[in-house]
Structures are given as structure tokens and as C-alpha cells.
Subunit: 272 residues, 2 copies
């Protein structure tokens, strides 16, 4: 195998398994090259990644070491992407009867979810979450892509009690906007005690659901290291029921009678 072909094969193998540590001897054997040759190749790949900004290589030294590919998004790409997304969402035809904003198509579209997952991963990577937790249904795809970008598993909190997952912990909570009492539950075996948790959801109005998720996490002795939502509404403009969350988009107004809705994006993201 020539050097150029080997480099292509290496970056392929790494990108196909993001966040997974691949030992150097494994690469050496697969590509029939000396470990020293592979090390040189990895330097070249590293440089190329530094230029493209699409990801970076992390090298772990030692016997149990290896190399892993961390997918990232640059500050600039993230900002451009979010401005585009805000414009796309702030159009008249997305306003639904009852004053809701239609964004389901966006929330289920892999080509939008992939960069969004990288944004959330970049925003929270430094807090070292061990698991991403969401609540069904619309936030699931976003949580999943965030989890993959971070290289951690995802867990879904269910509404009500589902019998097919064994014993579960349930709590009641008041959804801040609807004021109704609801139940959310999570199977005991889904989350080990003491984990560092990142909460991800699609939308935050009053924050009652996020508050409920935090309370449920407390039942698992989990450490909530961050909360990320795709969009928050500016109303209620008194303080939300949770603090210290990241909302990358904000719904500033939505008036079904005039057909006006404006969506803006945060401009001070700090991604790693």
C-alpha cells in the first residue's frame, strides 16, 4: 500500500468509529506497516485535520493507548450554520394554530442534526459528561447525535411507566407551560448511580420539564453537568425554572395573527 492510499484508509477507519480508541498495533497490522510508519502517517492526518477543522486526533500514550478521532465543528461553521437555521425557522409558514412553531422536520433531519450534535458536544465537552439524557419524543434525535459526537451513550426518559424495561423510578412534575401534572420515568438499570449527565431537549418554555429531569436525575445520584436545548421561548420572560442552560436558538416572538415570528441565535458560543 502506498503512503497516500494508506493515509486515506487510516482517516476512513478513524472517522467510521468516532471517539473510539484504536490501538496503534491494530492500525499497523491492518495496513501492513511498521508502528513507526503509522505514527508518521497519523501526524500527517493530524495536520490535515487541523486545516479542515472537521475533527481532531487524540493520542493516548502507553500500552493501553492508541488514537481516536474526535469530530468537531469550528466556531465559524457553527455560527454560520445556526444563523441559517434561525432564518429557516423564522418564516411565516411555520406558525401553527395555537401559537406553536413547526420545527419537526428540522428536528428529524440528519443533515441538520449532525452539526447541531457537534455544537452541543463542543459546548459541553469540557464538563466531561458520561451520558446524554433526554425525554421522549422530539429531542431524541438531537440527544443521539450529541451523544455520538461526545462518544457517550444516550438514555431516554419515558412519559408514564413502561413495563418492558423492568423496575423504574417515576416522578411527577408540572410542565411549566401547560400547568398539568405529568409523570416521567426511567428504568433503574438504564443509569448507574453517580454518573455525570448532560441533559438535552428540543424546546424550553418555562423549564418545568427540565426541572423534572433534574429531579429525576437526583434520584439516580447523577451529577447534571449541563443542560442544552435547541430553542427557548422568550416568554415567560420572568426567570425560568432552571438556570445555567444553553439555548442555541431563541424564539423572540410568534404572533399567529400577524404571521410574524423571529428566531435568533446565540453569538457567543465557546466550542472545544
Amino acid at each position: 500500500m502506498k503512503r497516500a492510499e494508506r493515509l486515506v484508509a487510516i482517516i476512513q477507519a478513524l472517522m467510521a468509529k468516532p471517539n473510539m480508541l484504536i490501538p496503534l498495533p491494530v492500525l499497523a497490522e491492518r495496513f501492513g506497516a511498521a508502528k513507526s510508519t503509522i505514527s508518521e502517517d497519523l501526524l500527517a492526518v493530524k495536520e490535515s485535520l487541523a486545516v479542515s477543522g472537521l475533527g481532531r486526533l487524540e493520542t493516548v500514550p502507553g500500552a493501553a493507548g492508541g488514537v481516536r478521532y474526535i469530530p468537531v465543528i469550528t466556531q465559524e461553521d457553527a455560527q454560520n450554520f445556526l444563523v441559517d437555521l434561525a432564518n429557516k425557522l423564522g418564516t411565516k409558514d411555520r406558525i401553527l394554530t395555537g401559537g406553536f412553531l413547526y420545527m419537526t422536520d428540522i428536528l428529524y433531519d440528519p443533515s441538520v442534526l449532525r452539526p447541531l450534535g457537534l455544537v452541543f458536544a463542543g459546548a459541553f465537552r469540557n464538563r466531561r459528561p458520561e451520558v446524554v439524557v433526554t425525554i421522549e419524543t422530539k429531542g431524541i434525535p438531537l440527544a443521539l447525535y450529541t451523544a455520538e459526537a461526545l462518544g457517550v451513550p444516550m438514555i431516554i426518559i419515558r412519559h408514564g411507566n413502561k413495563v418492558t424495561e423492568g423496575s423504574a423510578v417515576s416522578i411527577n412534575y408540572v410542565s411549566g407551560s401547560s400547568k398539568r401534572i405529568q409523570t416521567m420515568s426511567l428504568a433503574r438499570r438504564a443509569l448507574e448511580p453517580g454518573k455525570r449527565v448532560l441533559l438535552i431537549d428540543d424546546f424550553m418554555k418555562a423549564g418545568g420539564t427540565a426541572r423534572g429531569m433534574m429531579n429525576l436525575m437526583a434520584e439516580f445520584d447523577a451529577d447534571v453537568v449541563g443542560t442544552g436545548v435547541l430553542m427557548e421561548s422568550v416568554t415567560p420572560n420572568e426567570s425560568k425554572l432552571v438556570e445555567n442552560y444553553l439555548a442555541v436558538l431563541r424564539l423572540n416572538e410568534l404572533d399567529p395573527s400577524t404571521g410574524v415570528s423571529t428566531v435568533t441565535t446565540v453569538l457567543d458560543l465557546d466550542l472545544v
Copy 2:
């Protein structure tokens, strides 16, 4: 930029946007090379992909043409992966009270979902689905990865009626195993009429849910070109309510009293 570095950059750019057509002039401009040079580079990338089996390049000629990266899994990798998965699922500690099999962790794990999505995409690519449809909740991640591997959007059918998505079509169906009447619904604007649809779900017992999904799709004049489930139960062993579906795993027995469960995998996958 030297050739080797450019090759690495090209495969990166392509893999970061699977199934998206990238015009040659865009690549030429980004990497500061002539179109003829990029064409040669793409041949080298193509060869490397042919060896690794991780994906393939599709070239579309003409003014509106370009190149796209199609992620695939080889027959051999798929088979090994599925045998491993079947063994992992057929263990005593996964048997839950009530005769259920715990597989939620598997269903939410990106490192499992990615190859599974490639398996379903490979099995159904020839039927040219335009959208992947699932029903909440546990099948969502699987449907999402299948959709990304195929380069099409995903749509989630909801239980009951959700107000935040505008007017919806609802149908009642009888879940074959529970014999209860339930409701599933899909927003009118979520699916244009006449689309080619691939149904994906996590588990099939009697097939009542799949039957219901097909009936709902008929309301949208959709053409169901395939149905894929991760696992089917061997009971009820009389015929299921649907035909012509692909179940990649099969739960042959599950006996909570003896702690025995056996999961097998299909051995005649034909992936493209």
C-alpha cells in the same frame, strides 16, 4: 497542498456529508487544485474505499453533477456484527419479569446503531425509499441511522394526537400482542403524498403496529417499499399480520422460569 494531504482532506469532506452530492468545482476551489487533478484524486479515493469496504463513491456526470460518499457495510462485517449482537442479547440477565427482553441499551447506543443503520440501508437501498418512517419511541434511533445511511429524512408517527404539529391524520389500530385499541397519528405536513416509504421499528410480535403503520401510510398515498425490524419474536408462530418484512434478529425462546433465551440472526442478507 501535497497530494497525500489533499486525498485525506477530500475523503474527510466527503465522509462528513454522507450521501450529499458535492460538485467537483467546489472541491477544486476548496483545495486549490485543477478539476482534472481532483478527478484523479477521486479515483485514488475510490480504490481505497473499494479495499476498505467502508463506503463507495458515486459520481454523477454533467453540469449538475458531482460526487457523493455512500456509507456501506460489507456482507462479512454485517454478519459478524449481527452474530455478536445476537449473542449479546441472548443472555440471562436481559430477561425481565413478564417475559420481556431488555434491549434498550443496545437500541440507544450509537456504536451499535451505526452498523445497524448500514445493514438496513444496504438491505433496502435498491427499493429507493424517499423517507424512513417509524413510530415512537424505541425504534427512533434505529430509524434515524437508517435514514442517514440512505441519505433520506426520517418521520416519527406519534401515539395519540399532538397539538404542536398542526392538523394530523389519526388511525386506530389493535396492537397484535396486547389486543388493545390504540391510536397513532402523523401531521399532514410531515409527509407529502405519493412518497416511497421504508418502515423501521425495533420489535415485531404479532405485527399489529406494523399493520397500523401501513394503514396510516395508505392515508398519505404512500408506497411502502419495505419494512425492517431489528427483532421479531417467533411467537405467535402462526402468520404475522404483515408479510415481506426483514427482521435481522429473531427471539426464538424466552423463558423467565429457566432463564433461557436464544436470539439468532438471519444468515442470508443481501446488502448493496
